[in-house]
């Protein structure tokens, strides 16, 4: 046994059971343990931050998932109808009168305060109903209209009753009126579909993301249609056909530099070239998409080149060996095999583009537009610029809506990245 542990070819015999060797093993294990702990701590920290972000977004954002509605019976009072132009009838007065009649203990003086319970949209809803059906004059109809922002907050318990009355947005008597309506079962809190079906509005209860979603869609579509073919074309040429010389090295270096240029610079470029020089319309998703395409191009080119490089040389040789031309090698074999990588890179590039704010601000896609754009050339906002606008709005109702909009944006990003991962796994190939 002594022989087995005390052999060696060095100047001294090696004793694998010695205290010195044991201490070395313990030190190695301790250092491995430390590294593992540091790694776990880093991951834990990252997850904690992510959790804090998500929790805070959801905690404020979920309030925007519902919207308080008030159901009232209004009478189209013939005395207040404008015969010549029914659209210009005094709907506010009709609403006031109906509210005064329906809220117990309210007098005509409370009319204005009562009207404040309803969203500004109520009178337009009345108008539209009348225009659609002129026979309503003299009749009473039931309207289910959004409550205005302060009452929506009140209904959601976001108004602190301890605040002194003069500092509160809803006074004691108004709380009582609203309570009376609620007691009659006229107050409901349905899902806030407005958030997705309406465009922007000055009134939080009427504001939605439709315009921003459409704007982002058109911008991304433009971005994709421009950057995908151009990016792939450039990458295929550079990787497969371009002679390797100083000029192509120079182009390569500059494409990599382009990928690192801050997005606001692309915005300035878009402003100078597309708006001022070419005279394209301001705030248009088409122009936004063009600017985003400039930013996405380097990402797509770099991803495509990496995907093309990853196709093994043996496949190229095989094709050349049976007499395929270089072009046939590239388009019959290399590009199809690189496609999953190309698509993954493109989707990641588009996801980046979807979240870009600065370049869109510079070309005016933070305009206040209350209708979704019908074409890519109409003024619009995009999701990130809409978030920017809402975050800047003083109305408290926009606080939860901003969070909700961020959640929608994050949802799309997760969806796109998920698609990229799915494609990568589905087409992953083992050579």
């Amino acid at each position: 046994m002594a022989d087995a542990t005390q052999t060696g070819i060095g100047p001294r015999p090696v004793d694998w059971t010695s205290e010195e060797i044991g201490a070395r093993v313990r030190r190695r294990k301790a250092s491995e343990m430390r590294l593992k702990m540091v790694g776990l701590a880093a991951i834990g920290f990252a997850f904690l931050m992510l959790a804090i972000l998500m929790v805070s977004l959801i905690a404020t954002g979920w309030q925007a998932m519902t919207q308080t509605h008030v159901r009232i019976d209004v009478t189209y009072d013939p005395a207040l109808i404008n015969e010549a132009n029914p659209a210009r009838s005094n709907f506010r007065q009709m609403l006031q009168n109906s509210l005064v009649a329906q809220v117990p203990g309210a007098t005509a003086e409370d009319g204005r305060a009562l009207l404040g319970i309803l969203s500004n949209a109520a009178q337009f809803t009345m108008r539209d109903r009348l225009l659609a059906d002129p026979s309503l004059v003299g009749r009473t109809v039931t309207l289910n209209v959004p409550a205005s922002d302060p009452y929506d907050l009140l209904n959601k318990g976001l108004i602190d009753h301890e605040t002194p009355e003069e500092l509160r947005r809803v006074k004691d008597n108004e709380i009582a009126f609203f309570g009376a309506l609620a007691a009659q079962g006229r107050v409901t809190k349905p899902l806030n579909t407005t958030l997705l079906t309406s465009a922007d509005s000055r009134f939080p209860e009427l504001a939605g993301l439709r315009g921003a979603l459409t704007g982002s869609f058109y911008a991304l579509l433009t971005c994709f249609l421009l950057s995908f073919p151009i990016g792939i074309g450039a990458a295929i040429y550079l990787e497969e056909f371009a002679p390797k010389n100083k000029a192509s090295d120079f182009i390569e270096v500059n494409i990599n530099n382009l990928a690192a240029v801050p997005s606001v610079v692309f915005g300035l470029l878009g402003l100078a070239v597309f708006l001022n020089w070419l005279g394209l319309p301001r705030s248009a998703p088409f122009v936004g998409g063009m600017v985003l395409a400039l930013m996405t191009l380097p990402t797509i080119i770099i991803a495509t080149r990496a995907a093309l490089k990853a196709v093994p040389a043996s496949i190229r040789e095989a094709a050349l060996g049976v007499g395929a031309s270089r072009q046939q090698v590239v388009f019959h074999h290399v590009v199809p095999l690189a496609m999953p990588g190309i698509l993954t890179g493109t989707i990641i590039g588009l996801a980046q583009a979807l979240g870009q704010t600065a370049p869109l601000l510079l070309i005016g896609m933070n305009a206040f537009v209350t209708a979704a754009p019908a074409t890519p050339f109409d003024p619009a906002t995009a999701l990130p610029t809409q978030i920017f606008i809402w975050a800047d709005s003083p109305e408290r109702g926009f606080v939860s809506r901003t969070s909700a909009a961020i959640l929608v944006l994050l949802g799309f990003l997760v969806l796109m990245n998920g698609l990229a991962i799915f494609l990568r796994n589905k087409f992953e190939r083992k050579w």
């Binding site: 390797k244 093994p312 043996s314 496949i315 040789e317 095989a318 094709a319 050349l320 060996g321 049976v322 007499g323 395929a324 031309s325 270089r326 046939q328 019959h332 074999h333 095999l337 190939r429």
Partner: protein, 265 residues
């Protein structure tokens, strides 16, 4: 190995299919192949042997102008295929590669179906007029590669799903499908197990009936088993070229003798 049995040499009088004269190859500054003169006979298996890095693959890749795809490679000298200089300006290297088929060291089927692997060459060269003719070419190519019986029921399965030996025979079928006159094989068995190697060697012997076959090998036993003529390369020089039996039993050059007896390489 005792299996130094020399393949019977029934042929020796065939006409030269390829004759190379004064071939030099440079990779940038490296002079990889120095002044090689060789006549490769039709319907004969010619083996290139020699230590690693001596230029066997380099010379093989000159014969179908595969070196054209290496940017830094430069080829000098003349190589005649049936009396026609293949480095002549009027020769289209792409078409040449259909006429001089190549099989590589590592089986490299396309990640497509077995059928498409074989059909690809005939398709891009427009060798068939309809699906029936293409089916015919695919079948006869697979038969020539001794693979038909193993795959006839699953032509639509991916070629990459076959075993290593089957993949290599699929690659041979793919090369044969464009009706080449010469088949170049660069160490076609080095990635295969002994049983698959034996099958491919048997196949090579059959292919000799229709093609001039050139095979690079680092296994002298293999050269002895399958070839009728052997060329020994050393440090970019063609040291000795002759009938396989003579090279193995009675080498003229001392370097050949050293290599054969295992003293260099």
């Amino acid at each position: 190995m005792n299996d130094m049995r020399i393949a019977e040499r029934t042929v020796g009088t065939n006409a030269a299919k390829i004759s190379a004269r004064g071939v030099q190859v440079y990779y940038g500054e490296t002079h990889a192949l120095k002044d090689v003169d060789v006549d490769i006979l039709d319907r004969t298996v010619t083996a290139f042997i020699g230590p690693s890095g001596c230029g066997k693959s380099t010379f093989l890749r000159c014969l179908n102008r595969m070196n054209d795809t290496v940017a830094i490679a430069r080829v000098e000298g003349t190589i005649l295929l049936d009396g026609q200089d293949i480095y002549d300006k009027r020769i289209d290297p792409v078409q040449l590669r259909a006429k001089v088929g190549m099989v590589f060291q590592k089986p490299n089927p396309f990640p497509k179906s077995i059928y498409d692997n074989v059909a690809y060459g005939p398709k891009i060269h427009g060798l068939t007029r309809n699906k029936g003719e293409l089916d015919e070419i695919v079948e006869s190519s697979l038969r020539k590669a001794a693979l038909w019986n193993e795959v006839k029921g699953r032509l639509n399965d991916p070629g990459t799903g076959l075993s290593g030996g089957q993949q290599q025979r699929l690659c041979i079928a793919r090369a044969v499908a464009t009706s080449p006159e010469v088949l170049l094989m660069d160490e076609p068995c080095s990635a295969l197990d002994p049983i698959a190697t034996a099958q491919v060697e048997e196949l090579i012997d059959e292919l000799r009936e229709n093609y001039a076959v050139v095979i690079v090998t680092h296994s002298m036993q293999q050269a002895a088993r399958v070839s009728q003529r052997t060329a020994f390369f050393h440090l970019g020089n063609l040291v000795e070229y002759g009938e396989t039996g003579q090279i193995f039993t009675n080498p003229k050059d001392t370097r050949t003798e050293s290599y054969i007896t295992g003293r260099i390489g």
